[in-house]
């Protein structure tokens, strides 16, 4: 590897990550606003966003704390919402597992839906990338999203209750996630995985502690894997 190729990989990541400031930004503003309304001060909001970097888990924790749920339930529920990052960690390991430990520590710290979805798609599409190029691409994809995540958390906390309540900011997240998923639905197993996950998550919506997400996620992964095996057997 040379400096130019890692640099161009970083820039490619930066470019691919740019659209996702539209996701992280509004979501972080919303967290800042809601957390301030719940009584957190600026320092607490910023520490929360900096230490956890997991929008959905932070919203879950905030909601449950306001409901006076036991601390253990708050932690377990929020971590359950965030369990998907362990699956992302596993999915990136074949590509980044050989990187130096200190780099993997930072990769892990910055592992969110956006950084995972972008880099996994890229690593799959360009298998000849070297490890340093992959790491550079990954950090490139994270850079703008993280700047906007922290910056907009601050803006939201500073704005507090000044934002009009009728702005549909909460719907920015589903739109953003769906826009990331749609281009990945390129084969029958991918479609089967998504369809199964959707049906299961809707059926399991009453299951407590956000476990419906995990049921849908695991069910979808099994459906995708089984469809892949079935197609391979048919071709054989």
């Amino acid at each position: 590897m040379t400096t130019t190729t890692t640099k161009s990989a970083y820039l490619a990541g930066l470019r691919d990550g740019a659209p996702f400031i539209l996701v992280a930004g509004p979501f972080a503003v919303l967290f800042g606003v809601l957390a301030t309304e719940a009584g957190l001060n600026l320092f607490e909001v910023m520490t929360f966003s900096l230490v956890v970097i997991a929008g959905a888990a932070q919203f879950t924790a905030l909601q449950l704390m306001q409901d006076n749920a036991p601390t253990v339930i708050v932690l377990v529920s929020a971590l359950a919402v965030n369990l998907r990052v362990a699956m992302y960690s596993a999915a990136l390991t074949p590509y980044l597992g050989a990187a130096p430990l200190w780099q993997r520590v930072f990769v892990a710290y910055l592992l969110v839906d956006q950084s995972y979805a972008l880099s996994h798609a890229r690593f799959e599409a360009v298998p000849e990338m070297s490890i340093p190029q992959r790491v550079a691409y990954y950090f490139g994809a994270c850079t703008l999203v993280m700047i906007f995540w922290f910056g907009c958390s601050y803006a939201g906390a500073a704005l507090g209750t000044a934002l009009p309540a009728e702005l549909p900011l909460d719907f920015a997240r589903p739109i953003a996630f769906l826009s990331m998923v749609a281009p990945m639905l390129r084969t029958l197993p991918h479609l089967a995985a998504a369809a199964t996950a959707i049906v299961l998550s809707l059926l399991a919506v009453e299951v407590p502690h956000s476990l419906g997400l995990l049921i849908g996620g695991f069910g979808g992964m099994v459906a995708g894997a089984q469809t892949e095996l079935w197609l391979a057997r048919r071709r054989a």
């Binding site: 993997r104 592992l111 589903p174 069910g219 459906a223």
Partner: protein
């Protein structure tokens, strides 16, 4: 109001817990090869988990968990536009535009 002690226990606990979830495979498995059956499932992580995360937010998005037509329409348009163009910007734009128009049209 949220109790201050509880808040800090949650912030620190969630921070440490989230990091361990993220580090689990990257850190402790490293460059040891993962078994084929596991890789076969991992290929579908994103296309399974993200739709499972979104589906309830889309379908039960209205007051008291009812379906809000404008949000369902916006979600479907986002998916179709993204699948056809393979462009995230186009998908987000189409979805956000649909949400705005549908809210205006459907009240």
């Amino acid at each position: 109001m949220i109790d201050n002690g509880t808040l800090w226990v949650v912030i620190i606990g969630l921070g440490v817990g989230s990091f361990l979830l993220r580090f689990a495979f990257l850190g402790f498995v490293g460059d040891r090869p993962l078994p084929e059956w596991m890789l076969r499932h991992l290929r579908y992580t994103a296309v399974a988990v993200l739709p499972a995360l979104c589906a309830p937010l889309v379908v039960y998005s209205g007051e008291g968990g009812e379906t809000e037509p404008s949000r369902l329409a916006a979600a479907v348009v986002t998916l179709v536009a993204g699948a056809l163009t393979r462009n995230v910007f186009v998908a987000i734009g189409a979805g956000a535009g649909t949400l705005q128009d549908a809210e205006y049209l459907l009240g």
